[in-house]
């Protein structure tokens, strides 16, 4: 059978439904917020939009069917999430924003039956939100996860956790946390991490200040969170002790790709706004869109969008086959994150003074997109990983040749 890149008709229909939902329902809401995209409007609006999305049959397309989701695989998610990401309010409306979407994915793969009911069910349905507490301030776990500093020590019937996290997306208002803490080894060691589930009202958990990043749309912010003698009973360990890094991989690859999906929609919107502008605006004896240098920017946007989309599809397909796909997701993430900044920047440039003003959405979308080159692993760390694998292959080939 020949290779086929086409989605099934029902997925195509779902994508079109999502596009209409965004265009007719979500974008007007966003516009009514007059450029203030903070927390995508907050939790009340979230619940309102979620209800509407449920009514339209497009809510939580990634979540397990048993909990009200549509159970899409990664390649199909790609198209739906891109459509949702067209508005900064879209991912929250469909309940596919970070970190909840990734947490649903991970819990679906790892959680015990009790944990599924207790944590996954209310999360998948949008009843509550969650947070994933891994990143730490220097010298802790950041781009280099081995530096994990937060400690969990064995106590009677469970573990006691102490440590400080930051850049914890969605922490404000989260109902529970997935906490990554060290149960073996020392900061700098590979391995020795465990994941713990803890309700937000567990004594010792404090959500601190919101880090004032240039992206604003994440509901619940990027927060500092401290854990002081936080007790987690054994039954709330997610998976097995000391296997935290392995589970993080389960989350990481797909979560990286869903960022690529959602922000692809945002990048597409920048481009569309610029296209609309240059095809209307007069200057230099014609439309701006008739000028070669403008056309070059338009074409480069089109190329960047197409390449991002195809690299994403390839990585999603590998994930759907059950592979780790670390290389494919690193490649797609690195390319896309950089492409999105380029697209936003060219779109801004095409719109001149208005492009750098709040009169058009491009400038604020550019701010949403920029951090992606840092979040989920800076480009430099991904390049390092990609290169090490390639060089490893070369060394293996040399060893094989010499063995002959």
């Amino acid at each position: 059978m020949p290779i086929d890149l086409r989605h099934d008709p029902e997925v195509v229909e779902l994508v079109e439904k999502t596009e209409r939902f965004i265009r007719d329902y979500v974008l007007p809401i966003e516009e009514a917020h007059n450029g203030d995209i903070t927390a995508a409007g907050g939790d009340d609006l979230r619940r309102e939009m979620n209800a509407k999305a449920k009514a339209e049959g497009i809510f939580a397309p990634h979540a397990p069917v048993e909990f009200g989701g549509l159970g899409l695989n990664m390649t199909d998610r790609a198209a739906v999430f891109e459509a949702a990401g067209y508005s900064t309010f879209g991912p929250v409306a469909l309940h596919i924003g970070a970190p909840d979407e990734g947490n649903v994915h991970m819990l679906d793969h790892i959680a015990s039956e009790e944990q599924r009911q207790k944590f996954l069910a209310p999360l998948a349905s949008g009843e509550v939100r969650s947070a994933f507490a891994m990143t730490e301030p220097a010298p802790g776990a950041g781009a280099d996860p081995d530096a994990l500093n937060t400690q969990a020590v064995r106590v009677d019937g469970g573990w006691k956790i102490n440590g400080t996290k930051h850049f914890i997306t969605g922490a404000e208002g989260a109902a529970f946390f997935i906490i990554m803490a060290r149960t073996a080894g020392s900061p700098g060691d590979r391995g020795g991490a465990t994941m713990f589930l803890a309700n937000a009202d567990t004594p010792g958990i404090t959500v601190g200040r919101h880090i004032n990043t240039i992206d604003k749309a994440m509901i619940g912010g990027h927060c500092e969170v401290t854990f002081e003698d936080v007790f987690v009973p054994d039954e709330d360990i997610l998976g097995e002790v000391d296997q935290g890094y392995r589970y993080a991989q389960v989350r990481l690859g797909p979560a990286r790709m869903t960022h690529v999906m959602r922000w692809l929609g945002a990048a597409k919107r920048c481009h569309d706004v610029a296209l609309d502008y240059v095809s209307r605006r007069e200057g230099f004896g014609g439309k701006l869109g008739d000028l070669g240098m403008i056309q070059q920017m338009v074409a480069d946007n089109e190329i960047d969008l197409a390449a991002s989309r195809q690299l994403l599809l390839k990585a999603c397909h590998e994930l759907d086959l059950g592979n780790h796909a670390s290389n494919e997701t690193s490649i797609a993430k690195t390319f896309a994150a950089e492409a999105y900044s380029r697209i936003a920047d060219r779109s801004m440039q095409m719109c001149g003074g208005l492009g750098v003003s709040a009169d058009l959405p491009i400038a604020r979308l550019a701010q949403e997109l920029r951090p992606f080159r840092i979040y989920d692993g800076p480009s430099e760390v991904h390049r390092w990983a990609i290169a090490r694998r390639a060089i490893g292959r070369a060394k293996k080939a040399q060893a094989a040749a010499e063995a002959k």
Copy 2:
């Protein structure tokens, strides 16, 4: 059914067979030529390599089965052609080089039954080579095909052709020409072109000097060709009169993509040579491959290769669906041609002094790859076409919105 990017097992096997053929049979031949890749060794070697490829069952994977080919579609060709392109002698060895491969493709779609027997059969089997005579010196048809200057005038029983062409790949030694000539309108007009088939020994056809381009591997060179009162009988018109531009489209998209395929193999080889070098060579207290700036170049090569491959796959899939795919092939061609230059350049840089010498194949491969940003439509022309389509879409959307 979920999207599937995997080739069928028999195609996978064919690719592996091709890789072995290139590694074990073709590369040693290339190496024996000591860096002289002119005309990929010439016609005698071509016939010898073709025989071997036939024996291996990998000859002419794109050609119709009735003429001894394997009848692969575009997505499957992609993987086999990439494998063949790893050696500059590979495409000739499999008989999938330009322009023959594109001519086989076009004749298979357009030729009459008589023409199939007379022209396609010997071409598909590798008995003869062919040339496609479209490009003209200034002010004729170049990046701008409408400037077509070569004239065909109606005479008794056929047409008489006069004109000058240049950059005619494979002209030296071609058994026949497909000649693009104007049968209606004036230079600058859209349309009015017709394709003619003419044996190379037809009176009035003269193959002139080889243009001394930096790429050297094309068998039959890039030649100047003049047509002086060349008579072509009506039965040797390819397709219908005045439909030449339409047929050129049939050839153009796929031919563009097979360039992308073959040169992807060449780019991959540059990268592999550099990888081998930096993973062996010591410097600055370790292997070169341990240095961050080298790793960045390695990773960027990997990303460029991956993106080229996926954009190619997408365009091939569109072609396989029977679409014109002008946009997808323009995007894939533009991205890939530029990516290949970057890959060759980084690979050269990684290998230092040896990289710019004939001691490694990278420098000469870089020369093979560079013209692709000009051949088959310069990047600027493709960008212009891509942008015009995008802006056209925006204008249509505006008109639709206003119509409401």
Copy 3:
């Protein structure tokens, strides 16, 4: 005498004084504003800082000596303005911010003796601020100045002006406006513009909304301004009628260069903050600054800073020689504006999550710097002008060769 790039000792001393003033006095004020750089703190703070700068003997280094300035030429200004631009509050502190600095420069060259006393004297001394009203909303004068739409019609004893401007920097709180209006020809024609001086309280002048651009530090904002039957008496015409474009050139070249100077300081600061960060922060078994990919960003920043500085110097020198220097200022402006964005972006990347937060000043400086690729002529317009001159030279050379 050999070429000498060194400033005179008294200028070097002035630069060092300015650096100390910024470091010890201005930066602490900026820090006290906690990242809120709106309008560089406003007019009260401006007067306070101006007084301090006067006391230090570094106030208004560009202004005529007769009005309390230091009378520096362009090459010497370059170094002082760069030092001042290190803080977003620095240019206002020294009274060398746009548009006042450019207006002082232009008035000094063109104003009549009466106008010098009435407008230049209070402006040069910092008693008042001013605005330059040229840019118009579409389809008026923007990147293409010939589109000038604002009309001045002859009335008894003067002119009556009607029109709408936008992006008028410093309009809010300006004591007077320099208004560019059409006195001959139609929108699209070359020439036919005149400059008018008008106090802000002249009937018919209305400062409208502040355009909410991503840069925030300009005192008086970027405003919409309307002129409705604004009467300007003949004695308040700046220079001669219909010579507005010629005078605009007097302002344009130097004003472009002083932007390059001030923002060079801001770019330098981004780089310094990143350098400080990567030379402290641990990760991957050492300091971040020991990693090759970080070093590449550091080096590219250094190269970009150096090239911007030298191109600026070259353009300033041409201006000091009394040349229009349109080409040199276009080249310096285009390169520098793009280099500053690159520098800010790399600096952000080096600082990871903190780089995209308000915890470091880089993210907001990036927002200050980005619009410079659009303000004062988008890069595309400058490239067009640069190319046209180069191609014009080639054509002239051809004509000369043919004439032989």
Copy 4:
């Protein structure tokens, strides 16, 4: 006194004389070679061109006046060398090619009076050529000079040298060698190198194969050279024992800059050829030079040329002041080498099919220019050095701040 970037009138005149010499005398010779620029025509032509240059009063502008040169400083050399570099035969014609020009410079600074007469006098006058033998094949001295492997051991009355060098420019036909050999320490150690002067006919010196690099114009090639028990008497030590690295610095900075100068001329020529082409050639309803994407390439070439020239001037000025200028020369070299590749590449692209053919000189000039990103220290090594200095400054500032 204000900064002045203008050359003295006699230097301006010298530059113009050189431009005329190149245009009227050297370029016709180059053209008569029909694209074969190997060794810039060889030694017989060199002598003929040298005689002509002497007659014109422009020979050896860098050499000491006592030996027939013009004794120009670095900033003045810059303009003359650029003019000469416009033809690939120009530097040889003026006797300012590598490595002779750098050897003259170094000998003038370091040689003893006897060595001046014996080695410098015939070299400066163009009677003979010379070579500088430093670079070694892996694992010896390459990008990392500390890896120096060639050994000199003390013997009665002098030293005995053994080792292998490669990429020794000008070796074939050189009258004498300056040999860098280790007199203390082991490969990998800083320091311990000494420079030796040895006539080419000294027993034990063998010039081996020419490395077949993509640049062809260097007279005497890039050769492998072996030293087998080569005896050098004490009086032919250049400077003092163990001070070789220090002297290499004397040569390195200026030699780097003269490469930048000469190849600036070559890059300028690529641009001029492309300008001439796009201002004549019709296409797409006008001249190519009227198209925005072509104009962008033209403007980017202009910007790259201007920035290279100004960074060069800055570095030369620092050298003229007697400073090491390692940072300034690294910055100028790195920027310029990369800019020249970009310029050649854009120029090629603008000329389409002819650009990648031998019908225009651009393609071969591109091959001359490409290796400069590797020769004289790859860009990566320069970036590493630039970054280390910048980070070192940051650390020093931190230590100073902490000391308070």
